[in-house]
Symmetry: C2
Subunit: 234 residues, 2 copies
């Protein structure tokens, strides 16, 4: 109404404005997809003119990459905080799976699918995706190594084990845009099952994230053969 005749200009410091733009872009990327991160869309979000976005990001591709990096990084920080104050690796890993397997993770899965596809055409984004994959892997591998050193986990090769877990999580997340949600419990639990198997943990250890934090052992015998284990109700 009052602003249609003459726009009120709000002048901010470059650092503030840039951060504001990146935050808005990350939000749009997460909610609507990376292809919706356009100069006009972000400008509208912040109630500024498209030219201003161009001013801070002369190449729009840089903004898209930044949006993905920001969103993915924030999620990583929630999922696997660098600061694990006092919590055991087992509890931490259990908490990680609880979050990374629930429906709340679908938005993140969508973002990863989005970014991995768009990487095909946009080199700048591709570099960002590679860096983020590295960051996620590094963070998880650190947690696993810590658990191995403390005797909670057991694996010959933490690096390979980490990748194996991530591959399963990626595989489960691949259908975030299509699945109707009716998946067998055994499949939903695949990531946890893989982790427990590869880390020498008893079945169920990583399912109860409110459970024992000390040793993580329950005394249940480990799965012996290769047959599919019966699905547990919880």
């Amino acid at each position: 109404m009052s602003s249609s005749v003459q726009r009120k200009r709000i002048r901010k410091s470059p650092a503030d404005r840039r951060a504001e733009i990146v935050d808005a872009a990350a939000a749009v990327a997460l909610a609507e997809g990376l292809e919706c991160v356009t100069l006009r869309r972000i400008a509208e979000q912040l109630d500024v003119r498209p030219g201003l976005i161009s001013h801070y990001f002369p190449s729009a591709e840089d903004l898209v990459a930044e949006a993905f990096g920001s969103a993915a990084n924030a999620e990583l920080e929630t999922l696997l905080p660098a600061d694990r104050s006092g919590e055991t690796p087992t509890r931490h890993l259990a908490r990680f799976f609880a979050h990374a397997t629930g429906e709340a993770y679908d938005a993140i899965s969508r973002l990863w699918i989005n970014a991995r596809h768009l990487s095909r055409y946009r080199p700048v984004l591709r570099d960002r995706v590679t860096a983020q994959e590295e960051a996620w892997r590094g963070r998880l591998e650190g947690l696993i190594r810590e658990g191995v050193e403390g005797g909670e986990f057991r694996t010959d090769d933490p690096h390979v084990t980490t990748i194996q877990i991530l591959v399963v999580i990626d595989g489960l997340g691949a259908h975030a845009n299509t699945d109707s949600g009716n998946r067998p419990e055994t499949v939903t639990r695949m990531a946890v099952t893989t982790a427990e198997r590869e880390l020498g943990l008893a079945r169920g250890t990583l399912s109860r994230h409110g459970g024992p934090g000390g040793t993580g052992r329950t005394g249940a015998p480990p799965a012996s053969g290769g047959a599919a284990p019966p699905a547990t109700s919880n």
Copy 2:
């Protein structure tokens, strides 16, 4: 030069023209991505006018869905032919993994990532993707059930086992646009490892696709713990 003044019109039967368009669209989808399946692009490919493509596909989204469906279906037919003339399920599954793990499969992985992402915005494509997932799963599950009935495979739930294998394949394929290719051998073999474990097969049974076709048993003890198996050279 000679055709610039007056275009030579080639009139074809609707069925032929439609098939021609779908084939071209599928080829473009596979080579350059589904977003390159545009009226203008396909028209250029066939040396006709864009309006003609619109004539056969009043909605461009239908053409994209058809392109994906055609490409995915052709690949499924190569990967898991409906007609398994005389070959044992073990040999057949081994052949499947040989193809679905090699670099030649990257193009298909890219297409799936592409389609799954685009499904977010295009309902028609989403239905097609869901149908293709169903088809792939059904074909693989049929093979596994056949193996179980013949005593080559052993699993309590062929349905779940099938999905588990496909999840791993999806997880491995997720990085087709970003990976530099340097992946640990153990990770590359994850799909085969999963199949062998879930089907009660000895390690290596599904790696040698030129190997024994009868029983598929080698006498080697099954993997006990979660330790990474030594990498085999072939």
